[in-house]
Each structure stands twice: as structure tokens, then as C-alpha cells.
């Protein structure tokens, strides 16, 4: 009997059998086969009926450093949520692998995508001007916003000049950055999110916890509770189909009545002035095609030179994010519909400054696929909201400090440095190396708490000198014994939480190599 027969769970690749669903509720293919496109799980999951309160995110107190470890601990204390979250994201990671392995030129595509982004970012002024000229020639109103406040002011002016009071929008990380929803609410504009996950988060007054799947940290029971409170659904009915249909039925009237529609932007094509969005629900197309006024918010780093380059990125994006070959909808907005107005807002919000950071500018290549989050052991076990920032997971660790060094000073320490994020990144950002570089910057600039600084100095003194390192390791058998216990298990070290470090091997690799290999070669 093989190992697989003895343990069918291992064969299925299931890591948390307790969240396996007894029945498969997902839609079926025409031939009755199982489907796993869009964000679908490749193996059905279902959190057990036991009621477990949803763990909430990090406590945000002004500019004070976010305590990610504290929020992560509360997430870990909710085992059903943690297991469902881990299972779901690891499943997406596996689907990504299967999809990537199906393309012989995958690595070449990553190289090309990375090089296109590097070229565009180093000629961004030229391509932005080209984009603007093309968009204007297409009859589009083009605006430039220095920061989030500027973006919100411009959009509010556009809305007011049309007497618009309601706006339907699709998911956009940029508008999250700008605090757009909160600003508009304070100014009497009603904003309706039309992506299901984002709508759940809006109704629960929470930020999105994942770039691609905003409500991935919630179980269906959490969603049922939110919808019962806000949409008047049956609180005891947590059927996913019922919940999704309730959202569709309650959102559609808003879409039909909205004065304005808004989308974000996955790619902006300089040569044609086109905004490209990639969605599975078709909600960007509803937002862009139904209301009489349409607005597209564009981060300036989203520019790519030509239409032919889009082919490279489209082939990478959904495969990296969800393991599907393409999103259900890939939409190209280039000019206004007859009798309507189209506005595009080009937003900087710190991007031009980031371009000047020698070690960190390549983080601007990010296409927001979320692959680094799905693969990250810290993210999967602590939930996106524990980061207390717009961007969570590995990409968040290297972007967030550019917005606020003090507030996000501890985030680069929420990493095991395993490098998996770098390996899955479709545009080859050296994420884990930038995480390490941020640690150095934040220590040098005294942005991190004293305890962690002491640890860094002690470790740094040993790690920076190979001979001293080997002597120390040899004497102690392991770095885990060199570093004091408080350095591994103290509350600031997020990834030491709930994990005892493995026993150190009796012999170091270096000593083993010297003993077994070097002598073979006569040295």
C-alpha cells in the first residue's frame, strides 16, 4: 500500500482537513466536470458550523507603529478562520504553479515583463505624456493628481460639476490608498462597491484583506452575519449561492441608478490611451458602461508602451493570481460612449518619489496579482488585516514604508525571508531582498523599536563576519542557540509565534562539507 493510499489527504494536497466541505457547491462545467476558474477553490472548502467570531485586524493608532504580531496572534487564536484562510490561499498558490508549469516560456515571459516594466519606469515621463496625448485625442478628459487628497478633490469636482450624488465602482487598490470611499462619504457622495468581496468589506466597514480576494479572511458565516445586518438577508442561511445572489439583487438597482461609474486600472497603454481592467465579475464593465459619466483612476506606474506588450502581462496576471489562463473579463476602455463623458485621473501618490529609491524602485513593477501573498507563510497565518495597511503580505512590506516609515516600521520584520515571494513574482521583483534592505534602512534611521534594534545589532555583528559566524555557530551547534531565546520568541518576532524552532542538526552544513567533501578533493 502506498503512502497516498494510507493518507488520501496528502494526495489531495489538503493541509487542513477540518475545513474540507462534505459536498461540492461550485458550478459545474457543461460536461459536468469540476470547474476552478476565477477565484474558485480546486478542492471545495467549508469552515465547520461551529460559530467562531471573526478576528479583526491590527489596531491603527495614528502614526504609531503597527503591531502586526499582536493582530496575528488574535488571528491564530481563531483556528477555523486561520485554517480556512491558509487552505484557500495555499490552494491558489498550487493552482498558480500548475498553470505556470503549463507554459514552456513562463520564465521567459517573466523576464520580458520585468524588462518592459523597467524600461517604462525609467522612461515614465515620456510614456505618460504619450498616454495623455493619445487619451485627449480620443476625447477623454485627463487629470493629474499629486497625491490621494488631490485625487479625491479632482473626482469630487467632476462629480459636483455633473450634479452626481451616487457612484458605482469596481475594486481598485489605488482608491483604497487614497481613502476615497471615506472622503466621498464625508462629502455626501454615496459610493457603492460592486465587486462581491469588496462589497462585503464595505458593508462590514473593513478594509480589503487581500489584493485579489478582499474578503478571503471571512467564512461564509461571517458573510451571512454581515448581509443579515446590512442587506436584511436570513441570518441562518449561509449558503454561498444565496449570499452571492442577494448581493447581486441588491447591488443592481444602484448600478442602474448611479450618476457616475468608476474603475481602477490594471494596465494603461501609452500608444493608444487605453485603460485595461481585468475582472471576473464583469463589474468594471457595468461601472464603465451603464452610468452616463465614467471615471478611471490610474496609478502612474501602470503604464506600458504598446498593445502588443499587453499580451505578455495578460498571460501572466491571472495565472499568477488565480491559476486561470485569463480573467473572465479583460476590458479595454479607450474613449467615451456617445453622449457621455470619460475622465482619466493619473495619480502619483508617492510613486515618483519611490522611483528615486535605489534599492526599492523596482517595487513599482508590481501588477497586483497577489501571488506573493498566497505563498507567504506569515501572510497565510496572520491574515491581511493584521498588517494595518493598504497593502499586506510581502509586497506590502516593501511598499507600505514608502507611505509612512514610522507607522509601517515593524512590517518588514513580518517575514521568514524564505524568498518564495520573489520566486513567484510574475515581474521578478526581488521582494525578499527588498524586505531585508528595508530592515537595514529602518534600523539606520532609528524607526524601529529599541528591543528589535538590539537584536539586529547583535545578529548583525555576528552575521556580517563569516569567520565569527562560523565560530559562533560551531560552538553553539546552531544560530538558534547563538541568538538568545528572547530574540526568537519575543513578541516582536512575528514568525516565531506559535512555532517552536526545529531542533538544530548536530553538525553544521559547513562542518559536514569540510569533513566529507573537501577531504575528497585532497584539501
Amino acid at each position: 500500500m502506498s503512502v497516498e493510499d494510507l493518507n488520501p489527504r496528502a494526495r489531495d494536497g489538503v493541509i487542513h482537513p477540518e475545513v474540507r466541505a462534505p459536498h461540492d457547491e461550485s458550478e459545474r462545467a457543461q460536461d459536468g466536470g469540476r470547474l476552478q476558474h476565477a477565484e474558485a477553490a480546486s478542492k471545495p472548502i467549508r469552515a465547520p458550523q461551529t460559530r467562531e467570531k471573526q478576528p479583526r485586524g491590527a489596531k491603527v493608532r495614528g502614526d504609531r507603529p503597527i503591531d502586526q504580531a499582536e493582530a496575528a496572534e488574535r488571528f491564530l487564536a481563531a483556528p477555523l478562520h486561520q485554517a480556512a484562510h491558509d487552505e484557500r490561499l495555499w490552494d491558489l498558490r498550487k493552482k498558480r504553479d500548475a498553470s505556470a508549469h503549463g507554459i514552456p516560456e513562463w520564465e521567459e515571459l517573466r523576464e520580458i515583463a520585468s524588462a518592459i516594466k523597467a524600461h517604462t519606469l525609467t522612461h515614465l515621463d515620456h510614456y505618460l505624456e504619450q498616454f495623455e496625448a493619445a487619451a485627449k485625442a480620443n476625447g477623454v478628459h485627463v487629470h493629474w493628481a499629486t497625491d490621494g487628497a488631490d485625487h479625491n478633490r479632482i473626482v469630487l469636482e467632476i462629480l459636483r460639476s455633473h450634479g452626481a450624488r451616487t457612484l458605482v465602482k469596481s475594486k481598485s487598490m489605488l482608491t483604497e490608498e487614497c481613502g476615497f470611499r471615506h472622503h466621498m462619504a464625508a462629502n455626501g457622495i454615496e459610493i457603492i462597491e460592486t465587486d462581491l468581496g469588496e462589497r462585503i468589506q464595505q458593508l462590514d466597514d473593513e478594509e480589503p484583506s487581500h489584493i485579489v480576494a478582499p474578503a478571503v479572511h471571512k467564512t461564509r458565516m461571517d458573510v451571512a452575519e454581515v448581509f443579515a445586518k446590512t442587506l436584511g438577508t436570513d441570518p441562518d442561511n449561509d449558503d454561498a449561492h444565496y449570499l452571492a445572489e442577494s448581493q447581486r439583487e441588491t447591488t443592481r438597482p444602484y448600478i442602474l441608478k448611479a450618476d457616475a461609474g468608476m474603475t481602477g486600472c490594471n494596465f494603461a497603454i501609452a500608444e493608444t490611451g487605453t485603460v485595461v481592467t481585468c475582472t471576473n465579475e464583469g463589474n468594471a464593465d457595468l461601472s464603465g458602461n451603464v452610468p452616463p459619466l465614467q471615471i478611471h483612476s490610474i496609478g502612474i506606474e501602470k503604464i506600458i508602451p504598446k498593445v502588443e506588450h499587453l499580451g505578455v502581462f495578460i498571460r501572466l496576471l491571472s495565472r499568477s493570481a488565480l491559476g486561470s489562463p485569463i480573467t473572465q473579463y479583460t476590458s479595454h476602455f479607450r474613449g467615451p460612449r456617445k453622449g457621455t463623458e470619460m475622465h482619466m485621473v493619473l495619480v502619483d501618490n508617492g510613486r515618483s518619489a519611490r522611483l528615486g529609491l535605489e534599492e526599492f524602485w523596482t517595487s513599482l513593477k508590481c501588477i497586483r496579482c497577489g501571488a506573493c501573498m498566497n505563498t507567504c507563510p506569515v501572510y497565510r497565518r496572520s491574515g491581511g488585516l493584521s498588517y494595518g495597511a493598504t497593502y499586506s503580505g510581502p509586497i506590502g512590506l516593501i511598499i507600505d514604508p514608502t507611505f509612512n516609515k514610522r507607522k509601517y516600521s515593524t512590517l518588514p520584520f513580518s517575514s521568514t525571508m524564505n524568498g518564495s515571494c520573489t520566486n513567484v513574482c510574475p515581474v521578478k521583483i526581488n521582494i525578499h531582498e527588498q524586505i531585508f534592505a528595508w530592515r537595514k534602512v529602518l534600523v539606520e534611521e532609528h524607526q524601529i523599536p529599541a528591543l528589535k534594534q538590539g537584536m539586529m545589532k547583535a545578529a548583525g555583528a555576528v552575521l556580517s563576519r563569516p569567520a565569527a559566524y562560523r565560530a559562533a555557530i560551531g560552538a553553539a551547534d546552531s544560530a538558534l542557540k547563538v541568538l538568545p531565546r528572547f530574540a526568537v520568541y519575543n513578541p516582536l518576532n512575528t514568525w516565531g509565534k506559535k512555532r517552536e524552532m526545529p531542533d538544530a542538526p548536530r553538525q553544521t552544513f559547513h562542518a559536514w562539507y569540510k569533513q566529507n567533501r573537501m577531504k575528497d578533493t585532497g584539501r
Binding site: A40, H119, Q328, H332, L346
Partner: protein, 195 residues
């Protein structure tokens, strides 16, 4: 200084050092076999779409049941009359009660099972999302091998709106349970009908 001037000046001041030429994108060998029709159908089904064979007497045989059950049918193709004239629609909201919309695709992509529409095929863009079900006519001769070939087509540079549909509207935002008809159409069926 205007926001525009300020942003461009900051970009120029902060330009990273080094030479980063624009790479040439090579011609990749299509991942699909020679039978593009079969490959297209197979991949579309995996993305939740349906493929129906046209009947010899009735090209709509594969979706006849759906059409007969529909109260409002909006057709953008000469092959079917329908009972909602898209040409006379003044605002997108008017098509919110459409049960089935019938549209011709510009082309299909075998690699992904996608079909392309522009504002010319849709007549009213919103009908492809507000309708409950979408029926797509696709000429088998219009199937391209891959995404790369698709982005060489001229439609993207000249259309005010161009969209690739790959199956129906879908979500799995709640515990990964796949649901069709998240916000847009609940089903997408492709009929392979020559122009």
C-alpha cells in the same frame, strides 16, 4: 507648479540610473494544437462557458430552449430577430430587463476560450452585462491560436471599447465556492456559426 509639471519633474529628477532597453517580444509557439475549434471549445468549457453545435435546420437549435423561455431577447445579429431593438435604445438602463442577448464575436482565442466584442458588435455595451444570459455567434474561421496573436489585431487601437469575455460572470469570493452570474451574465454560450 501644476500637478502635471510637478509629477513629471519628480520623475525626471528621480530617474533610476542604468540603461533599460525595451525588449523585443518573440513569437511564442502557440500552446494549442492545430484543431483550433476543438481547443477553443475545450478551454471555454473550463472557464465555465458552453459550446453549442448549430442545428442543420436551425442555427439556434442548441439554445432554442433558452430563447423560447425568454421574455425579452435582444439581438445584435441579423440571424435572429429578437423582440428588443438595440438600435433604438437611448440609454443603457433600458436593457436591464433583457433575458437573452445575442451578439457576434469579432474573433475567438483558442489558448483561453475568449471571444472579443467591440462597441460595434454590442450596439449597447451594457447589454453584454445586464442581460441574464449571453449567446455568442463565432465563425470557426475567426479563431486565433493565442493571446499574443489577438493583441496584433487592429481592433484594440481603434475601438472606443473592446472586451474579451471568457465564460460568464463569475465569483468565488465566499469560501472559494464558484458562482456564475456574480454581477453580469449567468451563462455564456458560443454557437459556431460562419459569418
Amino acid at each position: 507648479m501644476s500637478a502635471r509639471a510637478g509629477i513629471l519633474a519628480a520623475i525626471r529628477a528621480n530617474r533610476p540610473a542604468g540603461d533599460y532597453p525595451l525588449p523585443t517580444v518573440p513569437d511564442f509557439t502557440p500552446l494549442v494544437g492545430d484543431d483550433l475549434v476543438a481547443e477553443f471549445g475545450e478551454r471555454l468549457k473550463r472557464m465555465g462557458g458552453r459550446v453549442a453545435e448549430p442545428g442543420s435546420a436551425d442555427v439556434f437549435a442548441g439554445v432554442r430552449e433558452r430563447l423560447d423561455a425568454a421574455k425579452v431577447v435582444a439581438s445584435a445579429v441579423p440571424e435572429l430577430a429578437g423582440n428588443r431593438d438595440l438600435q433604438s435604445v437611448r440609454s443603457p438602463q433600458e436593457v436591464e430587463d433583457v433575458d437573452v442577448a445575442v451578439v457576434r464575436a469579432v474573433f475567438g482565442i483558442a489558448e483561453t476560450g475568449s471571444v472579443l466584442f467591440t462597441q460595434d458588435e454590442l450596439i449597447v455595451n451594457a447589454v453584454a452585462y445586464l442581460a441574464q444570459h449571453l449567446v455568442v455567434l463565432l465563425d470557426p474561421a475567426d479563431i486565433l491560436p493565442n493571446v499574443q496573436a489577438a493583441y496584433r489585431r487592429p481592433e484594440f487601437a481603434r475601438s472606443a471599447y473592446a472586451v474579451l469575455h471568457t465564460g460568464p460572470s463569475a465569483t468565488a469570493d465566499i469560501e472559494g465556492v464558484l458562482i456564475h452570474g456574480a454581477q453580469g451574465v449567468r451563462s455564456l454560450t458560443v454557437l459556431l456559426v460562419p459569418r
